[in-house]
Amino acid sequence: MTTETFEADLRQALARGAADVPETRVDRLREAVLEESDSRLAGVQTSYGSGQGGQPSQELVLSSTMTLWIP
C-alpha cells in the first residue's frame, strides 16, 4: 500500500468516525450549553459565609458536574 493510499484510507476512516456522532447529540449539546449559560447567567446564585473568610461568593453552576466559584 502506498503512502498516498494509506493516507486516503486514514482520511476516510476519520470521516467515518466523525460521522458516528449523531446530529441529534450535536443539537442536544448545543442546546444544553446555551440553556445552561442562559439560565445560570440570568440568575447567578449568591451565597454568604461559604466563601473564603466569610466573604460573599457566587456559585455559577454550568452543569450537573461543573461548578464555577466566583469570589
Binding site: 486514514l10 470521516a15 447529540r25 450549553v33 449559560s37
Partner: protein, 176 residues
C-alpha cells in the same frame, strides 16, 4: 460577568456555540473515542472560552482558540483515557488468534474500523496530531501552534503515529 449580560456579546457567544459545537464534538470524539467524554470535553471547552470571551471574540479566529483549548483538555486527560484504552488493548490481546471464531471476528473488522481502533491506542499527542492533520486538515505550523511545539516535532510525531497505524492495519490484514 458583566460582559455576558451585554446583549451583543451574548449573541456573539450564542452564535459561536451554534457554529462550533458540531466541529468541536466530532474532533473531540475522534480523539477520545467516547461520545459522553467528548461531550464533557466540549462543554468544558465552552466554559473556558466563555470565561475569556471578550478576548476570544476579538481574535481573528475564535474557533482556533477553542480548538486549542479542546486539544489541550484531551491531552491533559490522556492518562485516564489511556487506562481505559489499555484495558481494551488487553482484551484484544487476549483473543486467541488460533481460535477460528476469533479469526473470523477479526477478519470482519474492516480497515477503517481497524484504523480508528489503532488511533485510539496511540499516545494522546500522536492522536491529536493525526486528527488535526488528517481530519481537520491543518498545516503543520498550525498544529505546532496548538500543541506548543515546533513544526518539526509535529512532522516527526505524525510520522511515528502513521507508522503505528500502518503496522496495526497490516496486522489486521494478516489476521484476516
Amino acid at each position: 460577568m458583566q460582559w455576558l449580560r451585554a446583549n451583543a456579546a451574548r449573541r456573539e457567544f450564542e452564535s459561536f456555540v451554534a457554529d462550533s459545537t458540531g466541529p468541536l464534538l466530532r474532533t473531540a470524539f475522534l480523539m477520545a473515542r467516547d461520545l459522553a467524554e467528548a461531550e464533557d470535553l466540549v462543554q468544558e471547552t465552552f466554559l473556558r472560552v466563555a470565561r475569556h470571551w471578550p478576548r476570544v471574540c476579538a481574535m481573528h479566529h475564535p474557533a482556533a482558540y477553542a480548538r486549542r483549548v479542546l486539544v489541550n483538555l484531551v491531552i491533559d486527560g490522556a492518562e485516564r483515557r489511556s487506562r481505559r484504552t489499555g484495558e481494551l488493548d488487553g482484551r484484544l490481546r487476549g483473543l486467541d488468534r488460533s481460535d477460528s471464531r476469533a479469526e473470523r471476528a477479526l477478519a470482519a473488522v474492516d480497515v477503517h474500523e481497524e484504523l480508528l481502533t489503532a488511533l485510539a491506542g496511540l499516545p494522546a499527542r500522536q492522536r491529536a496530531v493525526i486528527v488535526l492533520r488528517y481530519w481537520e486538515d491543518l498545516p503543520e505550523a498550525e498544529v505546532a501552534a496548538i500543541l506548543g511545539c515546533s513544526p518539526g516535532t509535529v512532522k516527526s510525531t505524525a510520522s511515528r503515529g502513521l507508522a503505528r497505524l500502518r503496522e496495526a492495519t497490516r496486522a489486521a490484514e494478516i489476521a484476516s
